[in-house]
Symmetry: C2
Subunit: 263 residues, 2 copies
């Protein structure tokens, strides 16, 4: 399956649906938006929707399906959320129970599906503007940190904001803000520039998730809200059941990143 990279989002999803691709989706279907997945029983749905409404930077909603629905309308006209993601994590009471390749057998009529924007979209825009992404260059996972910035709570959901860090040369920081600000539905403008201690980060070489990356001379750490925030907040609330994508194994939509840009 080495030749998956040049395929369209439609063809890649068809392969995933048949169980022929269960690896990460980074670099696939370039130009197309990928999305984080959170599925919750209906009893939690209002609280979680409200949490996303109140915290749009870490939780940018791209599409929410009505209870029981497993077919997207906005992100694709033909996708089935139960089969079209390479790997799913099943959590019970906040604990990982299993990682599976499809969830038809788990599906219940009260499941509400949330699809959230992902930083892959704005990273592509940064690279196009000659702003390099260090963790891609170093072939690592993006460094993620738990901050001291509280999200606005909603019902049972609460917790601190998690951020990603990308080192940007001081000459290009302003441009990086401008570029990512265009993509409000995929985390948008940064939430902090410069001093990690201001947002409660003590050790830049020890991220809470992902890998540390090199910060070169003349570069400034820039922090963006991260899609791990809603996942951490959901796990903390210990719902009876929650299904997410396995980190890195995203939903590939038929929507271009440029269609998500605000202007």
């Amino acid at each position: 399956m080495r030749n998956i990279h040049p395929l369209s989002s439609l063809k890649i999803r068809a392969l995933i649906r048949k169980g022929k691709w269960d690896k990460p989706t980074a670099g696939l279907a370039m130009g197309y938006a990928q999305a984080n997945l959170v599925i919750l029983p209906q009893i939690y749905a209002f609280d979680f929707l409200l949490f996303c409404q109140r915290n749009p930077k870490p939780c940018p909603l791209l599409e929410v399906l009505e209870p029981g629905r497993f077919q997207t309308e906005f992100l694709s006209s033909e996708a089935d959320i139960r089969t079209d993601i390479p790997r799913y994590n099943i959590y019970r009471k906040g604990k990982l129970e299993a990682t599976v390749k499809e969830i038809r057998g788990f599906w219940k009529r009260d499941f509400v599906t949330f699809l959230l924007g992902c930083s892959f979209s704005f990273e592509e825009a940064l690279v196009r503007s000659k702003i390099p992404i260090r963790h891609i260059e170093e072939n690592r996972n993006v460094p993620m940190f738990i901050t001291n910035i509280p999200c606005k709570p909603a019902g049972v959901f609460q917790g601190p904001m998690v951020v990603t860090m990308r080192p940007v040369h001081s000459d290009k920081v302003i441009r990086a803000v401008q570029i990512t600000a265009r993509y409000a539905s995929v985390h948008g403008a940064p939430i902090h520039i410069g001093d990690p201690s201001k947002i409660g980060i003590k050790n830049m070489s020890k991220p809470d998730f992902g890998d540390a990356v090199t910060i070169k001379k003349g570069e400034i750490p820039v922090f963006w809200a991260c899609g791990v925030t809603p996942q951490a907040v959901v796990m903390k609330a210990k719902p009876d059941l929650c299904i997410t994508h396995t980190p890195g194994h995203m939903f590939i939509s038929d929507l271009l990143n440029e269609e998500l840009a605000a202007f």
Copy 2:
């Protein structure tokens, strides 16, 4: 009460709370965002929140309060939604039952309050940029039209988008788009420019709501999504109970319009 205009949002809300101002709020607390109000029983709350998520241009959410809560947090740290709006409409099964000056006696523990952005915010920005607002000049209500553009339905809520029309000189149309695009949380960029028939409007001199205004030579009709959309959609769904502000009698927040601008 002629001297209410120069007062702060805080002082105006205090007067409204005491029942000393029950007139429209246009022109009060200039610079501060005003909001539309929709209160629904909890049973309708997920569907309506989802409707707003799916239709952000006509339904730009500024704040949603959890079930039973009547104090805002984001729009003001001291407002009481039961008393701080000059006039309320009470609807049962989609029919207007009463117009009242406060709703403490109607309040129930399962009420969910939605506050939505209003075009007053972007009108102020247009005027500041020397783009005149005809209905203000002619001392009329903004003309509103029901379009043939369907909103994305959610649960029991569905219906066509309602738009406002402002004539803009052709030299200034692009600037008007740029300015209003900054205010995504108060309807944002226009939804149509130029040809009313393209969006199902047959007679520009007979708006469905509000008043007709003069369109001068060289001016082009520009259409923005309108906050009447969610009200019309809610009435059509005939909920057991719904409380809204009386048109024009808005909630005055402590948030500056500029704080709502995207960049």
